[in-house]
Amino acid sequence: MSTTDHDLKPEEFGQAAAAAITDALAHDFRGAAQVLASAGLCGVCATEDAGGLALDIAFALPIVAEAGKLRLHWPLLETVLIAKALGDSPLAAELVSGARVATWALQGSLAEKFAGHARCAPDCDWVLVADGNGGAALVDRASVEIQEDAALDPEHPQSWLALDKAQVLATLDAETFATLQREGQILIAGYANGAAEGALSATAEYMATRVQFGRPLSAKQAVRHLLARMRLVQEASNAGIERVLAPDEYGSVRRTAPVLAHALANAAFVIEKALHLHGGMGFTWELPLHHALREVRKFDAAFGAGALARQNGRDFIQSV
């Protein structure tokens, strides 16, 4: 790991990222790219030749957790990963500088000529898709036809991409793509867990100030216990995510799918309960919590809505 090379601490990156992300939230999509890139967030893991910081994925984790917490709707984790995977290529430098933005279609492939679940696809320059043979291809978004599915999120619909005329700008070999997928699972888990953390702290604060029956609601045991349970699952996800970053006792990389499945399920639980604890208010667009829920549910859908847990079970059964 390169984490110790620089004497930097990942958690400090979280604090710095929070300021930049808050700033980015006040800008449009392209403006946000500039803000995030200037703060060094887009290139945190990219090579130094591409203008990046060449840091380990552990440093991207607190950044995307902040993005989740602050409900940044911008493909930051995708851009970070793709900039890293592109190595010294000039394309990487364009992502690092914020001149271009890339997203990643989590389902489908070039071979199928159809892909889906790429966040913010209409706004991006490039989309990464699996090639169907283990590797991946970065395609020009302008060469892709997009069909939107607004069922879960009318403001930020899920996108389906027709790839018949896709123009390939760069390719990733199977090994690079496998690393990107593994790191993607970790960062998505971190993003979802960050979203849960944000929802939880907003709810704890609200419950501590809203007075019903003569006392703040968080003094009521039913409420306290639900909040404590939300904290427990959020901490458990966090511990699992931290653990998966390091190799196991024998130096092998750990499996990320159980951690991602667990983090997505826990995040959905926490955010759903956060909505509930806001009472009638929780059911409205007055509150941003529904955005967090939609985002986590979209990721869950991208991985087959519970299919990860099923696959993890199948894998475990096979391993015995």
Binding site: M207, R224, H225, A239, R243, V244, P258, R314, I317, V320
Partner: protein, 400 residues
């Protein structure tokens, strides 16, 4: 894999990885065949067999990892303790018969005991020469320990103890009781609590076994009727009892039986292997719902490992764990109960015609399911843990 019968104990400076390899080899080479809970050769070991096994682990350098050498320990770090625990968990071996001594009484004596007490008690705990029990709960004081009324009255150089304890695990076999008493009245709440190391053969102590859900008599009521102990039996200063008790409970929640997550992993393997051993049961594993539940258990166990490893690293960094032990306690107890619910639903399909391994698993997991009911009760109930998290970790106000 080739297993050396008598691997050489590593140099303490060799670090945790060397200890892990040593522990792995030693445990696998020495655990008696009939103590493998996942094998057909298994038969319930006697108390003496369990004691001998655990004592042999100690003599092989696999217990007392962090205890000072002066008191029989190895003077190593929590990292070595953790790696040994992982290897212990990976094997389906009997639970420790002396965990109250090793994981509660021992650490508390190291913190508040006198030098004489440390020399007297600690090496014997590690060598499994003495068993300990924990006398905290009372019929009117369980979750709310501040209500306990077992009374200790000073009489010159000795103390007279009267009262009753309940749910005292291992009381019938114990040589000593880590006893929590009070010097004043219930109105004093947390003040005036005093802890003692009371020999269980002291006149006036009566142990009445209680049969538990699994059909065993592993805990008991303990009556103290004019029990007189010398002042040297006192652990810590008067008024220090509550703090000492809280420290005991936080240890119990955060670091006790650190092997749990790795044991759950091995139990899950045992369950799946048993199902696979029988064609009818194997079909259950093809069901998507079952696969998903197994996958969820895998995710929960992974997170538990993360919580435990994080605790060790925080303690190694000199941070105190305090209330955070409640997160680990709550997580393992609920995760294991849910897992046992799944196990029961699978082994409930076992019939007398099923494979021998499946029948063995049915016996094991049905008992384990029943015993798991205790997990959200002992070491502080779920509701108590939730309150601790709400109050001491999340700083939420308390109801009046």
């Amino acid at each position: 894999m080739h297993m050396e019968q008598n691997p050489t104990r590593p140099d303490p400076a060799a670090g945790p990885a060397a200890y892990r390899d040593y522990a792995r080899q030693w445990l696998r080479a020495h655990l008696p065949g009939h103590m493998h809970a996942d094998s057909l050769a298994y038969r319930t070991p006697t108390l003496d067999e369990c004691r001998d096994w655990e004592a042999s682990m100690y003599h092989a350098g696999l217990a007392g990892m962090t205890w000072p050498q002066a008191y029989g320990g190895l003077g190593l770090t929590l990292r070595e303790h953790l790696v040994v625990n992982k290897e212990v968990g990976a094997l389906a071996m009997p639970e420790s018969v002396s965990s109250i001594g090793k994981e509660l009484a021992g650490p508390i004596i190291q913190t508040v005991g006198t030098e004489e007490q440390k020399l007297q008690f600690l090496p014997r705990i590690l060598a499994i020469q003495d068993y300990w029990c924990q006398g905290f709960s009372e019929p009117d004081a369980g979750s709310d320990l501040a209500r306990l009324r077992t009374k200790a009255t000073q009489e010159g150089d000795s103390w007279r103890i009267n009262g009753q304890k309940i749910w005292t695990s291992g009381a019938a076999k114990a040589h000593y009781c880590l006893l929590l008493t009070r010097t004043g009245t219930v109105a004093d709440k947390h003040r005036g609590m005093l802890m003692f190391a009371v020999p269980m053969d002291t006149p006036g102590i009566r142990v009445v076994p209680i049969k538990s859900i699994d059909g065993k008599e592993s805990f008991a009521e303990v009556f103290f009727d004019n029990v007189v102990v010398p002042d040297s039996a006192r652990l810590g200063a008067p008024d220090e009892g509550w703090n000492a008790a809280i420290r005991v409970l936080s240890i119990e929640r955060a670091t006790n039986r650190m092997y749990r997550a790795w044991r759950f992993d091995s139990e899950l393997r045992q369950l799946v292997a048993a199902c696979k051993s029988d064609p009818e049961l194997a079909k259950l594993l093809d069901d998507g719902h079952t696969q998903r539940r197994i996958g969820e258990v895998v995710g929960e166990i992974d997170a538990l490992k993360g919580l435990v490893e994080r605790t060790v690293e925080q303690l190694m960094a000199g941070k105190s764990i305090g209330a955070r032990g409640s997160l680990t306690k709550l997580h393992w107890s609920e995760c294991h109960q849910a897992f046992m619910g799944l196990a029961l639903s699978l082994v409930s399909h076992v019939t007398p015609r099923s494979s021998a391994l499946a029948q063995r698993a049915k016996k094991h997991f049905t008992t384990a399911y029943l015993f798991a009911r205790a997990e959200t009760i002992y070491a502080g109930t779920t509701e108590v843990q939730l309150d601790i998290i709400a109050q001491r970790i999340m700083n939420l106000p308390k109801d009046l």
